[in-house]
């Protein structure tokens, strides 16, 4: 996992609520056995016209949203299926941050394991960000999001689980940490609870 420190970027704005993981990547692209190359299928049903050409009406196809590292979306982003293909496709497309007023549990967990930083903001900040693409600065160490809104500069301190932050900052994957727990796991398996099989 690529370490995450701080980034400056313009935003891509997707002002839709309840964007489910079937929209992020439709099920027909899940027959892969690798994690690479899924960026092409990101938002496929919204992004491409029936002839396979980019749909000019889809927000992310508009020039102002191109090559953004930060995606701003409406409430309840990433709901639905647990497919990790959703963050894989967002990261492969180039996003490093997703901002919304609410981010679905499994999607958030999957994102943190793939170097994609989910940031939950209050409604007022989301409304300012959803108005249109703007420049933002995100610093994970200090947990700050900064941008210029129509009414002046906004600075917001976002929350993130300390362990997830540590892993993101250092590009650590959590499997190594769990493997170090082996003695505790072995001890647990020796208790009455841990001894049975299926």
């Amino acid at each position: 996992m690529k370490p995450f420190d701080s980034i400056r970027s313009h935003t891509a704005v997707l002002p839709r609520t309840d964007v489910d993981t079937d929209q992020i990547i439709p099920a027909r692209f899940l027959t892969t056995t690798t994690r690479e190359g899924l960026g092409e299928s990101l938002f496929a049903d919204w992004r491409y016209a029936p002839d396979g050409q980019p749909n000019p009406e889809f927000e992310l196809n508009q020039p102002v949203h191109q090559s953004a590292l930060v995606l701003v979306a409406g409430r309840n982003f990433g709901c639905g299926s647990s497919r990790e293909h959703a963050p894989w496709s967002l990261v492969d497309y180039g996003f490093r941050v997703v901002i919304s007023t609410e981010i679905a549990d499994i999607f958030r967990s999957n994102s943190l394991k793939n170097g994609l930083l989910p940031i939950v903001v209050p409604d007022a900040i989301a409304q300012a960000l959803l108005k249109g693409s703007c420049q933002v600065e995100i610093d994970l160490q200090s947990q700050h999001l900064r941008f210029d809104s129509a009414t002046g500069p906004i600075e917001f301190h976002f929350e993130i689980d300390g362990f997830a932050k540590h892993c993101l900052l250092n590009g650590i994957d959590q499997l190594g940490f769990l493997l170090e727990q082996k003695p505790a796991i072995e001890a647990f398996e020796k208790t009455a609870h841990g001894t049975s099989t299926i």
Partner: protein, 471 residues
Amino acid sequence: MTMTATLFDKLWQQHVVTPQSDDQPAVLYIDLHLIHEVTSPQAFGVLRERGLPVRRPDRTLATMDHSTPTSPVRTLADINVVGEAAAGQIRQMISNCREFGIELHGFDRDTRGIVHVIGPELGATQPGKTIVCGDSHTSTHGAFGALAFGIGTTEVGHVLATQCLLQRKPRSMAINVEGALPAGVSAKDLILAIIGKIGVDGGTGHVLEYRGNAIRALDMAGRMTVCNMSIEAGARAGLIGPDETTLDYLRGRPMAPTGAALNAAAEKWLALNTDDGAAFDREVTIDASVLAPMITFGTNPGMVVPVDAALPTRPADGIWDRALDYMQFEAGKPIQGKPVDVVFVGSCTNARLEDLHDAASVLRGRRVADGVRMLVVPGSQKIKEQAEQVGLHDVFLSAGAEWRESGCSMCLGMNGDTVGSGQLAISTSNRNFEGRQGKGARTVLASPATAAASAIAGAIADPRAYLERAS
């Protein structure tokens, strides 16, 4: 002072290997890991890269359901109908299980089926367990009083390698369902009504516990339908406390304990129930006695109305307008009578024997309307066999429906069972997202009885009319 605890508190506490702190989530032990072909290949890849074995193959239950054909598979070559990539995924699953020593309930076994159907059917799903799977509908198993939730593929790798997950404890929420469900109103209608009430993000960050008379009165199939769709309210998991109904279901299942071991287990399981006076972070109460058969009209499961009602007129912020536009429905107008192209009875939500009985009881002696395709896909090969033993397949086939092999099928259309662009499908599955059942497909979610009634009418119909006539 006696400490009181909820079912969720007890399940959590019993599985903590290392407690959570400010710096670190809890290490939570997983009793049962369900795996399937779509969300496991990359996890096996990580194990292979790092030279790690599967820690507990004996606690791993593997099957294939998402990419699998619903046409008969007599030899492995028959899987090719699903296309090269999906067939490749199936072959990869077979070789991964062989390499890592995991028993696979594959095409050569009569135990294959949808992962959330066969876990309970085999008796592997039991009260008191932690159960995970790389699939959001793992919440189904909560119907037994097990803490069951969906995980991503990275976490599938964590469980394969360590039998543990790193987790922060979610909050708890009680859904109290009092009163009795009226005739013709099913568990599916109940959970759709609950999602309609609390919203598709109403359960985010929470584990739901369904409580009250109406829940106690449900059979295990109904309880599984309710818990299955907890994720559709955004919840981490859904739970129902174990009782005699749970024990009766488990008795005689191949992987369930028997005799004295069952009695000892039963005592522990029943003690898991939420203590009187235990506090939840949130509580919601629903009156079951006023519910009607429910149907979705929009593009998420929270956009739901009674089947005999008009569609709501509340263009709050354009979201509903967009959904109605996609669905080609009109605010303020009834949904009943809208012509349907496809009827799907299946999925981990509603493909158990009881669901097939519900659909058949409406369909018996009647015909699927001309021009309507009806697909009936049992939840497992066992259910298919049981249905055939009591002649349910004859009811479906003589009505003009297709009777298929088990699998996820048209719920998400990974195997080629799809709804055409612009077609309207009434589906007993769990998600009416845009294009979920095929690119451009329009989906309404409903119970098996409502789906069957709509198949006969060729349009969205109220099942109660047909049930009254049948009785």
